[in-house]
Amino acid sequence: MGLTLVFGVLGIADFAHGDKMGWGMFLAFFIVSSEGANLGFAGGRFGSLSFGWGLIVGLLVAMIGVALISVVLERLVFRRLRVSGGGFFVFAIASLGMSIMLRAMIQLIWGPSNFRYTPGIHPAVEVLGGIKVKPDHFFIVGVTILAAVLLYWLLYRTRFGKAMRATADNPGLAEASGIDTDRIRVGTWIIAGILGALAGVMLGLQAEVRFDAGFRLLLPLFAAVILGGIGNPWGALIGGLTVGIAQEVSTQWINTGLKPGIPFVIVIVVLLLRPRGLFGQQR
């Protein structure tokens, strides 16, 4: 959702989004890991969930951190490129460069190994009809729904959201009618950063904390965005669910190693049949 927002509102395909997720993941890891424990965080668990207060603090730190990274990059790089008249191409290449830098920094600080938030095996509990679900997954789904509802409220029920959508439709017109588009851009980056950090932490919770986890997710993310229609947060949510489910279900029939190919196939099919995505508006 963060990616689609930046794509839609700012017209930037942010190839660094995946690595910003990686940063969120690692910032939270820093808090829950031993270094964080020394500072008095970590420890404790909520019922049958695999984490405690430490992760909540970590999540907040990750959100602030990634939002900050996004804003700094906007100020330092994107704004200057915009002023000097750069277009889509320059943004895309610059974001690729930043993606490489962010990933290299993660490796520099935390090394190339994989981590987990909490060591050990987390048993799944049985819910209706013998389907086993890990308690953490309820948490992840809950947070995702909450984030989607909040984003909807922000976009469609506040002045800021209205200004944001106006900027997305026509930046020049929005500016002419007195909207501070510069502020909107920064705001968009902050929201996208927060959402990215959230996604990164959830990903780390669900799987492993690895330096290139975010980058590996980039293609499924873009697939979700394109499927859902660029700039449409609901579309991105539905698109994300579709891509994710398609990937998991596909292993019934095809080699597990080919799973990363599914998003790609989806992208191509969508581009061939309905280039504006399921819920996209005709441009």
């Binding site: 460069g97 697939a223 191509i268």
Partner: protein, 348 residues
């Protein structure tokens, strides 16, 4: 690339390193030229690694003898190596056509996303499908061209000669192509697609042509790489080395300028492959992390050049034909030419 870590203490060592370095750089320069052709019509190819990889694998499996023992790969017909190169180019072209059909008619960004994806999926196919290209074990023992004719130690000179000759041929080809009416049409499309269309150019066909030409050259570079290194595996064709590295070369050297592309390959290549040489003389805290720092700097180079020297070291020349006189507004330093292009790319 770790085989490049050699000591430069002896003269022989220095010669060895230089020969190896120049060969590698020549191969990357071919990639940069190929990318330049695609970029010259505004195609954003983030999947250079995919075309590079396809060329390498196709040429390798076709020229290798039939698989034995634990090895398992398709083909293995042992055809002559130059034919392998030819098929590598065909394979690059086929991949470009398959990718171009759904994406070239649409927004520019879709091709970028699709190409970055195809690199990922090709790697995962090579890694996971049994009996195709030997999975993650990679293909070993790929013969070099004319390797059996030359004394072992001297062969690296032949490798260098092959890479340089092909580079020169490619350079000549792309220079001719961009100076031709076809090349001028490409530039016109990039600078203002609507005007180009209004003057009767089928823009999709021109873009497809440039995409295919670039892809063929990338396939050729892959084939040369495979026969040069003798061993290829899916790991060789990472996004970092296969794609972003080439982009850095083009941005640093000067996009739109063929000499710039080659210069960028030399400069960025020296920075990248030269780092291991100084690793031992660095303080410990830096030396142990030199590869991550190097990666960081590659990313930084892209951003810094885009911000402060977008035209690269050598800028694109505005004069398109020797029949056009050098007008007063013909800036031979080409300052801002990338911006003109980008502005027109946005406004269309």
């Amino acid at each position: 690339m770790e085989h490049l870590i050699v000591t430069l203490v002896t003269f022989d060592g220095a010669v060895n390193w230089t020969v190896g370095f120049l060969t590698t750089v020549a191969i990357f320069a071919i990639l940069a030229l190929a990318l330049n052709i695609q970029w010259s019509v505004g195609i954003l190819n983030f999947g250079v690694a995919a075309f590079f990889m396809v060329g390498a694998y196709v040429s390798a499996v076709l020229t290798l003898p039939a698989p034995e023992g634990l090895e398992s790969y398709v083909a293995g017909w042992g055809i002559p190596i130059p034919l392998g190169w030819l098929f590598a180019m065909v394979a690059g072209a086929v991949l470009a056509i398959l990718l171009g059909i759904p994406t070239l008619r649409l927004r520019d960004d879709f091709l970028a996303i699709a190409t970055i994806g195809v690199a990922a999926i090709l790697r995962s196919i090579a890694n996971s499908v049994e009996g195709l290209v030997n999975r993650s074990r990679g293909l070993n023992g790929v013969d070099g061209f004319l390797e059996d004719q030359v004394q072992g130690g001297d062969y690296r000179w032949v490798e260098l000669a092959i890479a340089l000759v092909v580079l020169l041929a490619v350079y000549w080809l792309v220079s001719r192509a961009t100076a031709s009416p076809w090349g001028r049409a490409l530039r016109a499309i990039r600078d203002n697609e609507d005007t180009a269309r209004a003057s009767g150019k089928n823009t999709v066909r021109f873009r497809m042509g440039a995409f295919i030409l670039g892809a063929m050259l990338m396939g050729l570079a892959g084939a040369i790489y495979a026969h040069r290194s003798g061993t290829i595996s899916p790991l060789t064709f990472s996004d970092l080395l296969g794609t972003f590295f080439v982009w850095t070369m083009l941005i640093v050297g000067g996009s739109g300028n063929h000499r710039g592309a080659v210069l960028g390959a030399v400069v960025v290549g020296f920075f990248w492959f030269g780092t291991p040489l100084i690793q031992e003389s660095l303080p410990d805290w830096l030396g142990s992390r030199v590869f991550q720092v190097r990666q960081l700097l590659i990313g930084l180079l892209i951003v810094v050049f885009l911000l402060w020297r977008p035209q690269g070291l050598l800028a694109e020349r505005d004069r398109v034909s020797r029949f056009v006189s050098e007008g007063p507004d013909d800036r031979s330093d080409g300052a801002g030419s990338i911006w003109q292009r980008l502005r027109s790319a946005v406004s269309r």
